[in-house]
Point group: C2
Chain length 518, copies 2
């Protein structure tokens, strides 16, 4: 092997990778990074996009929405919407198209640390978490058990360390908290303590938004600080499928708008249950409902930052149970991403929701297929992208590590192939063909080595013999060691001592001080 | 649950699925089937396709090929090709374009049983096997061991039972055979005994083609039968990268043409080793070499059935070892498929080559990503698509079962979404929204249930509790049981007693009679 490459090889070794992790390898030096443009996969033809669009508009204009809070009805009617003969609120197609035109397109989802800011828009692809699992795959016993507040905090600080998981939505419910207000408060505290990435959470009602924002201001050490860099978005489910508004979500939405908190407006219609089973009908209704959510926010705050989250969920029609991992889920969410890009709206979709209960080969291909399909289709914010198993019922620490590694591979596909005179390099080919006959030591190869290629960290590329000698481990085992390494470190102390004291004086914080401060 | 759906549910149960397997569920009844059109994912822009194409032509015209057998040089020069000042054989761009225009486009790869015929062409996607592994993941010990002739036969009869693996290339080398002629003869026998699907193999030299065809005629019970329905293709590697012809492959090619045996002309250039490391350059050289292979066959037999197999292989530049599973492999093979479709040639690519040594979560996502990328890009013949691990060094029985199941999911994505008035069904949505509020019992749902949805066989979709009660297995374990079930059955006796006797009289067949006849 040529000397130059040998040096490179040494730099590429396990110890070097560990050192680079410790230093934090700069984003620019990596062969892949979050925010690469997708969109090269178009599940729908252009005429089909138009048909889906017009059918969704027709549904909103003809069938409309039921269970509309009075405040919404009043506002909508004043702007030219109508009630049909069943009393349902209907939106004229032109009205909906105006809302789409006036909606927020490119905006920043702030991290507490600016290097975690996410500039969403166009076809840039970011993966992050979602979910509200009620169980955890225990790191020590490998058994499922109820998820706790401590788990939530540990998941937050784990995600804080992962290159490809760009934000942290509370992925598990702290099932050890009974009081619903305590739950919101402590969820907010745990995620703010664990990560400086952009975060997201849901709220039991609009009333807990104000105290949470107050807490976040204290975390930031500045009254009104959250409004300047709102680092948390509110997840709302504005629609109860089929085609009804949800009253609680409206109250959370209004409170979020009041505090400048961005909104992730999520539709989770279920094929064959709360929406049609044929995929086209499923997509039409789900899109109409997502537009109804967009209308809702824009009625009260035109141009307000909203993620247009259309997550077409699939039901296993043999059992009626939700399934997150099939080809139907992949193609529906990819199509949902395509429709959002058609509108040039920041689209949210879902992927990587394994049905398997553990990180086995089933989980691997389930995650690979849905994650790649949605990324290639240009999903802007791909939720549930890490750690989720058992059709969203279980979160796994090892799963987060594994998925982060998988996202390196997936993002390498999304990056694609740069074609220009230099990357084609006909002269180099001619030189090598007429010369040494191999490219291994060529300057061009050395230059491409880190720039164009992703190398696995926990992924095994050893020879069968070397793998056997190293203990013949599977990736689940290797990920477990890595999780222990990270969670064994002291807490990141992302909340200052002073802020922590103030927060604990004011709120019923259930996570012990020692948990978050080492 | 509505009665109609309950009945459906019962029909969907494990016992029913088993029964349907036994009956052989008709292809038309399945939600997915091999041969679905791909092409919705285009890794390269149209201008980039043109640049890659013209750069490849320039390479063939300017740099050309070395180590050209005299018979090839004579033929090429007589048709207007030239030797450059280094004595390399160069093909004018117009000549290569004429070869592309005149090459075989749509043809049939025959199975012994016509229901296994593959009509290749356009953007229809078929997955099948490839490889020449030298080790097997032992079914009983889960350890790697050298592969044998018996393994090859067992792999053949396993693939014979898999819906989504459309042909059988000898995936392992019978390392227990020393004599190279015996190896070809016994390879041919084992695959013909194990499956009635289309098969593929390589030959140590052109001289073993004739006896193998003779054996196949005996299997078919008719002199000249093979020429009428050539159920085996010859895998040749006509080029030694970079840009040299391989003499042995030319002799096999000529013998194959002589016997009407279709040819799979495979280029396996290695990025950063035998081809450039930058992906664009890699693709250009690899494409030029694949065209050089096409030219070779068409020089001697214009329009002869050739698979245009461009398998861009990736080297881990830290170690110099082949890696089959990264994002670079996925996007390069997808681009190779796109280029073949650009030419409207039957393209072969490679996917599903896990680097992992076992069917773990790493293998799962490695296979999922490469298999989906190449399928969505419209690869016609996707090789290595089942059972391969350890960067093609190890084949696994359980892996075949798992990959077949994964292909159901992948093919569901490829199938996409049919958009028309019926599948949109605005009237049904309106009826349900204004009526019962759920779609579960609707006729539309019942109709879509088997038509539009794929249900896993070994894939687990149980609740966490039900999964625990059922033994908390992973998919590898479940696949193992299934393999034992299939391989525990008597051999399929695809070679008649009389033919078998004749073959054993004439050839040194090393597989015992009792192995193939129960």
């Amino acid at each position: 092997m040529p000397r130059a490459l040998e040096n490179k090889r040494r730099q590429g070794g396990r110890a070097a990778r560990k050192a680079r992790r410790a230093e934090g390898l700069s984003v620019e030096m990596r062969a892949v990074r979050p925010g690469l443009p997708g969109g090269r996969y178009k599940p729908l033809s252009e005429p089909d996009v138009q048909r889906i669009h017009h059918a969704a508009l027709e549904l909103l204009e003809r069938v409309g929405m039921a269970e509309v809070p009075q405040i919404v009805t009043d506002k909508a009617l004043s702007l030219g919407c109508t009630l049909n003969d069943r009393g349902r609120l209907c939106f004229p197609a032109a009205f909906v198209e105006d809302v789409i035109d006036g909606a927020a397109r490119n905006f920043t989802l702030y991290g507490r640390d600016p290097r975690h800011d996410i500039e969403i828009g166009e076809e840039r692809v970011y993966y992050g978490t979602g979910g509200a699992a009620v169980k955890v795959l225990d790191l020590e016993t490998s058994e499922h058990r109820p998820s706790t507040l401590r788990d939530l905090y540990d998941f937050a600080r784990l995600v804080d360390r992962l290159d490809n998981v760009c934000w942290f939505t509370r992925c598990v419910i702290a099932t050890d908290i009974e009081d619903v207000v305590d739950l919101d408060i402590n969820t907010a505290y745990a995620i703010a303590a664990g990560t400086q990435k952009h975060v997201g959470m849901s709220f039991v009602s609009g009333e807990t938004v104000a105290p949470v924002v107050k807490m976040f201001d204290t975390v930031l050490g500045s009254e009104g600080g959250f409004r300047k860099r709102p680092f948390c978005k509110a997840h709302i489910s504005p629609v109860v499928s089929p085609m009804r508004y949800g009253e609680d979500a409206v109250s959370v939405m209004l409170a979020a708008i009041d505090h400048g908190m961005p909104i992730n407006s999520i539709i989770g219609a279920q094929s064959g249950a709360t929406a049609p089973a044929p995929l086209a009908g499923m997509l039409v209704q789900s899109l109409a409902e997502t537009l109804a959510g967009l209308v809702l926010v824009n009625l009260f705050a035109p141009g307000y930052p909203v993620i247009f989250s259309n997550w077409p969920f699939v039901i296993d029609l043999r059992t009626g149970a939700f399934s997150g991992a099939g080809g139907e889920t992949a193609v529906l969410n990819a199509a949902a991403a395509q429709m959002a890009n058609h509108y040039d709206l920041p689209g949210g979709v879902s992927a990587s929701m394994a049905d398997s209960k553990i990180p086995d080969v089933q989980a691997g291909f389930e995650k690979g297929v849905t994650t790649l399909a949605t990324g290639l289709a240009g999903g802007n914010m791909i939720y549930e992208s890490a750690g989720m198993f058992a059709s969203l019922m279980v979160a796994s620490f090892e799963g987060f590590i594994i998925d982060d590694e998988m996202l390196n591979v997936v993002q390498r596909v999304i990056r694609g192939i740069e074609v220009n005179d230099e990357t084609i390099g006909l002269d180099v080919i001619e030189e090598v063909v007429n010369g040494p006959g191999h490219f291994l030591g060529h300057d061009q190869t050395i230059a491409a080595m880190e720039r164009d290629y992703v190398y696995p960290d926990l992924g095994d590329r050893d020879s069968p013999d070397a793998w056997l000698e190293a203990g013949s481990t599977d990736m689940w085992q290797r990920a477990r060691l890595r999780v222990r390494e990270i969670l064994g470190e002291p807490g990141p102390a992302y909340i200052s001592l002073e802020a922590d004291r103030k927060i604990r004086e004011r709120f019923n914080i259930l996570l012990p001080v020692k948990a978050v401060r080492g």
